[in-house]
């Protein structure tokens, strides 16, 4: 073993240093009088950097250990390791898909890919944060880059609008997080998750048996103020739900997904959700598990509201992007249902669902980005659903892929989406939340309607006139086929994803107890 434990953070250190190098490099070249366009080369460099990051991460051999470094502010366990590897792999695909869109939309700033790298650095730090300070700083690093990415298309009023809205609501939600964490600090005197866990883990379980019921209230009164802690936790939870765009706080996401350039929306929708969920797991499942009796009910209410809003709101959408936004809202609802059970199987099916959500989102958004409308004059990209009606005639294979992925995330039986979704329903039945299970199954049936409507528009419309699309480059189409086959492979062999999430949950709960 190395002497410096901090060297385990080498992948992030490498990523940070190479981002700084990219900024200096890009600035020196782009102030040149010849106005060199270095967007593409910087994008390929970023892909290389993320690939190197993956390489360093996978060679890091920390899988089973549980390191806490930098004064216990950063934790390196199997949960953070696997989620970082997964996010890095997904983001390589994101970079490759985004490239052509950026060229067509003439977003010729090299800063764009640097910003994506900054956001990824923030996301990686969220995955491994073990302290409220690190959590706040990494959330800010991620969301400050996202504000700029939303406003990156400088000549479009929609994009600037979306950036402004995202900025205001994001700043509001992170100030809620700070308010909650300040009260938590005032009550407990620490900001570290590990210390909080040690402080609160035994409160309900042990003291009652050691000191008896009479002294228990005395001990509880001396050590903690339960009401204030719950007050603080509600603030933190609301701010994290804002970041996830969950039902009472989802209104921003529609405008922002619609307004910002599609490449940015791709990143907002696919990449950061897993990291925010990992932060929720670390705070609410590891540190404040004792309060789970209290917060379970709030989460169940929020999750049900989210599922209902996500499935009913998508019914009347005409734009593909806002439909996908609603579909991501309802998926977050299902994930929260699995989380609210608070059991081992709940965590496992939640992680399964999130991993599969990321792959399916990657497939859908990459197909969405690849469909370049044949407009003569404008570069308008905001696709209506009816634009797809000639897709099955002009590009049959792509239409087949698109409909398969849609049916998979709708949860039709012979797909992997069905397996993870039924996992969530079974888990909620096992935790005897029958009403929740029934209601979410019904909502899932309703939300199937708007996925199937896209399939119907693609295949069963008898219209002759419609929009045509540019053909797809062959090297990109290989990637789409790879993603599609991976989805099919997961149906044939779902044990892969189940075992993966089982291992993560097992190692997580081993560290909890």
């Amino acid at each position: 073993m190395l002497i410096f434990k901090e060297i385990q953070l080498l992948p992030e250190i490498f990523l940070g240093i190479s981002i700084i190098y990219l900024i200096i490099h890009g600035t020196f070249i782009s102030v040149n009088n010849k106005y060199l366009l270095i967007q593409n080369s910087i994008l390929y460099l970023s892909i290389l950097i993320i690939a190197m990051f993956c390489f360093l991460l996978l060679n890091n051999s920390i899988e089973y250990n549980n390191f806490q470094i930098f004064n216990n502010t950063i934790i390196l366990d199997y949960l953070s390791f696997s989620s970082k590897a997964w996010i890095a792999l997904i983001s390589i695909f994101c970079f490759l898909m985004v490239q052509r869109y950026l060229a067509v939309q003439k977003i010729n700033y090299f800063e764009y890919s640097v910003l994506i790298l900054f956001a990824l650095l923030g996301i990686f730090f969220i995955c491994s944060s073990n302290d409220l300070i690190t959590a706040y700083l990494s959330i800010e690093l991620q969301s400050l880059s996202f504000y700029i990415m939303a406003a990156m298309k400088k000549d479009s009023a929609f994009s600037a609008d979306a950036g402004l809205k995202y900025f205001i609501l994001g700043a509001f939600s992170s100030s809620l997080f700070l308010f909650g964490s300040s009260i938590l600090y005032g009550v407990s005197g620490t900001t570290n998750f590990e210390d909080l866990k040690n402080l609160f883990f035994l409160t309900y379980l042990e003291y009652e048996s050691i000191y008896g019921v009479d002294n228990y209230s005395f001990v509880k009164h001396v050590f903690i103020d339960g009401g204030l802690i719950q007050f603080a936790l509600v603030f933190i939870f609301v701010s994290l739900l804002f970041k996830l765009a969950v039902a009472p706080f989802h209104l921003w996401s529609l405008d922002i997904y619609e307004g910002s350039p599609s490449s940015s929306t791709f990143f907002f929708a696919v990449v950061p959700k897993l990291a925010i969920f990992i932060l929720i797991i670390r705070i609410f499942y590891s540190s404040f598990f004792e309060y789970s009796i209290k917060w379970r009910y709030y989460i169940v209410v929020v999750a049900m509201l989210t599922v209902i809003v996500g499935s009913f709101g998508g019914l009347e959408q005409k734009k593909l992007k806002s439909l996908l936004a609603y579909s991501s809202i309802s998926h977050m609802g299902y994930t929260l249902i699995a989380f609210s059970t608070g059991t081992f199987e709940g965590m496992q099916s939640m992680l399964c669902y999130l991993f599969l959500y990321m792959i399916a989102g990657l497939c859908i958004w990459s197909i969405f980005l690849l469909l370049q409308l044949k407009y003569k004059y404008s570069k308008k990209q905001n696709k209506d659903l009816t634009d797809l009606n000639l897709l099955s005639k002009s590009n049959n294979i792509l239409a087949l892929f698109f409909s398969t992925v849609l049916l998979s995330i709708a949860g039709l039986p012979p797909m992997v989406g069905f397996l993870v979704k039924i996992g969530i329903f079974l888990v909620s039945i096992e935790a005897s939340m029958y009403f929740v299970a029934i209601l979410s199954i019904l909502c899932s049936v309703i939300s199937t309607f708007y996925y199937i409507r896209i399939v119907k528009i693609m295949y069963f419309e008898n219209s002759v006139a419609g929009k045509l699309y540019y053909p797809i480059q062959s090297n990109i189409s290989i990637l789409v086929v790879c993603l599609f086959y991976f989805l099919l492979f997961l149906f044939v062999n779902p044990t892969l994803i189940y075992l993966f999430s089982y291992k993560i949950t097992l190692l997580l709960t081993m560290t909890v107890v």
Binding site: L132, I133, Y136, L137, E140, L144, Y147, I148, A151, K154, D155, S156, A157, A160, D161, G163, L164, K165, F167, I168, L169, A171, F172, S175, L178, F179, S181, S182, I183, Y185, G186, G189, T190, T191, F249, H250, L251, W252, D255
Partner: protein, 103 residues
């Protein structure tokens, strides 16, 4: 040794924070006021951290305050930059021109 009466200061902090929240929610005129209320919220939280830090005789709160100040500066810089782009396109920064900003 100063004996703090924590309740007074916490009342001040929560009042400041609520002023910030209300300024964000009720404001229908100008985006600059929104930026100011976000700053006010962050500064109220800073005051909260400092008070708790003195009360607990612990240094973590001061460290947190320094980080929050840095982030708040970066955040308002980014907000003003986006506001400049917005003004260049729309020639106004009135908030009621943006639909649906409230949630």
């Amino acid at each position: 040794m100063i004996i703090l009466n924590l309740n007074y200061i916490l009342n001040i902090v929560i009042t400041l924070f609520l002023i910030g929240v209300l300024g964000l929610v009720l404001n229908r005129k100008n985006i600059l006021i929104t930026l100011m209320s976000i700053e006010l919220m962050l500064l109220a939280i800073n005051l909260n951290f400092v008070v708790f830090s003195i009360y607990l005789d612990d240094i973590t709160g001061y460290v947190f305050v320094l980080f929050i100040l840095t982030i708040a500066a970066a955040e308002s810089a980014i907000g003003l930059a986006i506001l400049t782009i917005y003004y260049r396109l729309k020639h106004t920064i009135r908030i009621d021109k943006i639909k649906n900003i409230k949630s």
